[in-house]
C-alpha cells in the first residue's frame, strides 16, 4: 500500500505551527482526504503543537518538538514529542462539566480526543500519538 512517512524537528516557536499544518495537509490532499478530516487533523495539530511548545518546552529555544507522521489511504497517524518533563493527562479536569464550563483553559486535550479517533499519551506524558481514519 502506498504511504507517506516523514519526521522532522520543529523549533519551540508557535510561528512554526502553521507550516507543519500546511505540510501535513498537503500530504493528506494527495490521498484525497476530505475537508472535515483535514479540519480535524489541523485542530489536533494546533492543540498538540501549542501544548508541546508552551507547556512542554516552555518556549525554550534550545528544545525541539519532534514530529513524525504516516499517511496512507486508510488513516493519518501523527506523533508529537516535546523535550519537557511530561504530565499526567488524567489530572486534567473535564472542561465540559458544569463547574469547569466557564474556566478559560483546559480544552485542548478534550478537542484532540473528540476530533481524532485514537489519542494515546506516553507514560511520561511528553509524547502524544493521534490517529484519524478515513470515514
Amino acid at each position: 500500500m502506498k504511504q507517506t512517512t516523514r519526521s522532522f524537528d520543529m523549533p519551540s516557536s508557535v510561528d512554526e505551527i502553521r507550516h507543519v499544518q500546511d505540510v501535513i495537509r498537503r500530504d493528506m490532499k494527495k490521498y484525497q482526504y476530505d475537508d472535515d478530516v483535514c479540519f480535524a487533523v489541523k485542530l489536533a495539530l494546533e492543540e498538540s503543537l501549542v501544548n508541546a511548545v508552551k507547556h512542554g518546552n516552555q518556549f525554550d529555544p534550545c528544545r525541539m518538538v519532534h514530529v513524525q507522521y504516516k499517511i496512507d489511504d486508510e488513516k493519518v497517524a501523527i506523533t508529537i514529542r516535546d523535550e519537557g518533563r511530561g504530565f499526567d493527562p488524567v489530572c486534567v479536569p473535564d472542561p465540559t462539566s458544569a463547574e469547569n464550563l466557564t474556566r478559560p483553559c483546559g480544552r485542548g486535550i478534550m478537542l484532540m480526543r473528540a476530533y481524532m479517533d485514537d489519542v494515546v499519551y506516553s507514560v511520561k506524558g511528553n509524547e502524544i500519538t493521534m490517529v484519524k481514519h478515513r470515514r
Binding site: 508557535v14 505551527i17 494546533e46 492543540e47 483553559c105 485542548g108 478537542l111
Partner: protein, 110 residues
C-alpha cells in the same frame, strides 16, 4: 485574522474573519476589548467568516464573556460556520454563549 466593529441597524457588530488559531489570540483579545468598550459590554460577534477556532481562541471568548457579564452585558455569536459551530457544541460552550442565525435574533434575545 481580521476584526472590525461594524455599525449596523441592529447596533454594533464585531465581525471576525480568518483563522482563530493560537497566533491570532492576541489580536482576538484586542478585538473583543475594543468591542466591549464600543458596545458597553453587549457584544454580538459575527463568526460567519471564521473558518477555524482553537482552544486558545475559546479562552479569549470566555474571558470576554466574563468582562461583558461584569458590565451586565453578554457575548453572543452569530452565523458560525458548521465546523466552528461543532467546536462550540463539542466543548459545550454553545450552552453559555448564545448562538444565533441573525444579528436581529441575537439582539432580541434579551
Amino acid at each position: 485574522m481580521n476584526a472590525t466593529v461594524s455599525r449596523t441597524e441592529q447596533g454594533d457588530v464585531l465581525e471576525l474573519c480568518g483563522s482563530a488559531d493560537y497566533q491570532a489570540t492576541a489580536e482576538l483579545r484586542k478585538a473583543f476589548e475594543a468591542a466591549i468598550e464600543a458596545t458597553g459590554g453587549r457584544v454580538i460577534c459575527d463568526l460567519s467568516k471564521v473558518d477555524f477556532v482553537c482552544s486558545d481562541a475559546l479562552s479569549v471568548f470566555i474571558c470576554a464573556r466574563v468582562t461583558a457579564i461584569a458590565m451586565d452585558g453578554y457575548v453572543r455569536f452569530v452565523r458560525p460556520q458548521r465546523r466552528v459551530a461543532e467546536v462550540l457544541e463539542t466543548t459545550h460552550l454553545d450552552r453559555i454563549f448564545g448562538v444565533f442565525d441573525s444579528v436581529e435574533k441575537a439582539r432580541a434575545a434579551d
